[in-house]
């Protein structure tokens, strides 16, 4: 079913989303959490850390806070409206504020329950609206984008290794040999406040977005991720399955989660055209 490029669709019709998570071949717990809110174009992925089941608790809190709060807020507000004080778009603010809220929830749970002390989580979340995607991330969970034949990393890890690469201490080829792969320099829920990194990117019809936990990119070469996305872009559930299978075939030493989002058409901001019209008058 092909639609002319000029037709603007509702975000839930324009995007195909697939969410999958797997504990891997070695771990008994799955400390990753994922959520897809197709009605408002939101996906959230978190990779928790901490002893016993604290990692699951942390990633679970982060995903549920962000997913429910953002989708709830979008029922009455348009993401393209600009906040009067900061001048930021509401969609961006929603991600920032709710990651902060998740941070506080995890932090206080960790403070009050000794078995959760020190728990935390990475997060990567994308909110699609108005032919764009606002991407927020903390830690080493990633977003890749396949556009045409090229795949690019959209996010840059908050990790010691990435900082070493950035400062020129270590080359990308050498980085693969590093033993410091899993040291993140930022995480949600570790301190009273968290700085999330947020960027807004334009979206084109045909783009495929891959949100993943490090269980994927540590086990599978970027080249293999790329060829899988490219070959299987016509069958997203199979692509997700294949990516997880490759991580597990490669050893599956960590939990592995993938969220795939394919852009099938142009899409407007969620909410009625009337709400947008009113927003437009408010400007």
């Amino acid at each position: 079913m092909r639609r002319p490029a000029g037709v603007i669709m509702k975000v839930e019709d324009a995007l195909e989303m697939i969410c999958q998570t797997h504990p891997g071949m070695v771990r008994s717990h799955n400390e990753d959490s994922v959520a897809c809110e197709s009605a408002c174009g939101l996906v959230v992925l978190a990779d928790g850390m901490g002893g016993y089941n604290a990692g699951e608790v942390a990633s679970g809190i982060a995903v549920s806070v962000v997913a429910t709060e953002v989708s709830h807020s979008l029922q009455n507000n348009s993401p393209i409206r600009r906040d009067e004080e900061t001048g930021d778009e509401y969609g961006v603010l929603l991600l920032r504020d709710n990651i902060q809220r998740a941070n506080a929830a995890i932090y206080y749970a960790a403070q009050s329950q000794p078995q959760y002390a020190g728990m935390g989580t990475t997060i990567v979340t994308g909110l699609f609206y108005d032919n764009r995607v606002a991407v927020a991330h903390v830690g080493d969970s990633r977003l890749y984008r396949l556009r045409g034949e090229t795949m690019e990393a959209v996010t840059r890890d908050h990790s010691l290794l990435q900082e070493q690469i950035d400062s020129g201490m270590i080359s990308i080829e050498d980085a693969r040999l590093s033993k410091n792969k899993n040291l993140v320099t930022r995480a949600v829920g570790i301190d009273a406040k968290v700085a999330s990194e947020i960027h807004v990117h334009d979206v084109l019809v045909g783009d495929v977005y891959l949100f993943c936990s490090d269980g994927l990119n540590d086990m599978v070469e970027d080249e293999d991720i790329h060829s899988t996305l490219y070959a299987m872009q016509g069958n997203l559930p199979l692509a997700a399955e294949q990516l997880i299978q490759m991580a597990n075939d490669g050893g599956g030493r960590d939990n592995v989660s993938v969220i795939l989002v394919k852009v099938k058409g142009r899409f407007s901001a969620p909410g009625s055209w009337l709400a947008r019209m009113l927003d437009w008058f408010r400007k």
């Binding site: 850390m49 403070q111 002390a117």
Partner: protein, 262 residues
Amino acid sequence: MAAKLILSMDGAVIKEYPLNKERMTIGRKAHNDIVIDNLAVSGEHAAVVTIMHDSFLEDLDSTNGLEVNGVPTKKHFLQNNDVIEIGKHKLKYINDQITQTTSADFERTMVMRGPVSQAGAAKAGTMKTPARPNQPAEGEAAERTGKFDASLPAKAAAPATPPAASRPAAQGDTARVAVVQILTGPNAGKELELVKNLTTLGKPGLQVAVLTRRPQGFFITHVEGASFPLVNGQALMNQAHQLNDHDVIELAGIKMEFYFKG
């Protein structure tokens, strides 16, 4: 156990230097951490920066330069058993961490707090936690976030085995070179070696099947398109299908044979 450099000349060991500082300098002058008193060596010749378990060697614009494993180098990420040559002197880099901490120990994500420079100064294994008022005990707990949790060593040791054990068995099929040879159509006779983990047949958007290389062998999977590929005349189902030597695949009217070389 910190990594170390072993200084030798003409095969005779002179001294061992544990890399217990974030930055250790090598040179002729006495203030260096590793002093090599030889005119071929510059006053400040090189430095080794160690962060956690990783060490980096850097030439400090020395007159005569240095070589690592026989290759002239300016900057190098040291690997166990690397040999640094400065004039007639050799420094061998030994990092026991490689055998002591397997990669599995490092699979767990861990948070590092504070700016990198600060963390870099922390000794291997113990992360520096900024002192926080009101919560004296909390800092200790936070330090153990992740894999250094007391409960983990036993767990962390176990993971290394299953993947390692499953690999040799897998060598059987994947170590052999598999080939697809086209039998019919304009490209008949052409051979395609399956050297990648994933090989695409067909064209995305129209008709696609993929051949995947897995530890168990090679599989064919239908991805998209109206018709399913046939293997030995049988249409594929939605699942991946394992290929056997000399299976005949038919995709969009083109026949091809899958076989192992050699």
